[in-house]
Symmetry: C2
Subunit: 101 residues, 2 copies
């Protein structure tokens, strides 16, 4: 993905599994890594699993840690950054129709 | 909830937060506790956070542990049971229109 560094994700539940409404993906961002700063016409629901990072939300940065929950509405600019030496891991859900596989 | 013992949940993201499509809830089941054995016309997407338990799926039981992901389709009978001495904690997502608050 252009603008991403040191990150990967697995699709754990999607339409391929018969899930009609929303898709669950698990992201892992390595030390120094980040997702692209981008926006799109659908929301994210996030649960932080491991590590520590920040989430850029439109015009400010929010520190996050395991157990934190975030709702990122459609069209909000956002970016996830790892700020610790170990893996930054989180669940990210989107509406099923926007998940490609 | 009739049929439930020792369990509670928090609604962490719902329509009340502006989430249009799906709701995120976090369940905690205490030692010896369980959710009701029931079914409903909408799916669950599950991520196991802590503890250990079993999930009854229609006609058989599946052991689960942290990191496991499950998709429970609409109309499948299901029940979550804690099988360990500590809290059994998991994320459970449903379509937004079925979340009452």
């Amino acid at each position: 993905m252009p603008g991403a560094t040191g990150c990967a994700y697995r699709v754990t539940i999607s339409r391929a599994d018969g899930a009609p409404n929303f898709a669950m993906r698990i992201f892992e961002v390595q030390a120094g890594g980040h997702t692209p700063l981008h926006q799109h016409p659908y929301e994210h629901e996030i649960y932080i699993l491991e590590g520590a990072g920040t989430i850029w939300r439109e015009d400010h940065e929010v520190p996050v840690r395991p157990g934190d929950v975030l709702f990122i509405p459609a069209d909000e600019r956002h970016q996830f950054k790892n700020t610790a030496p170990n893996t930054f891991k989180f669940i990210c859900l989107i509406p099923a129709q926007f998940q490609k596989c």
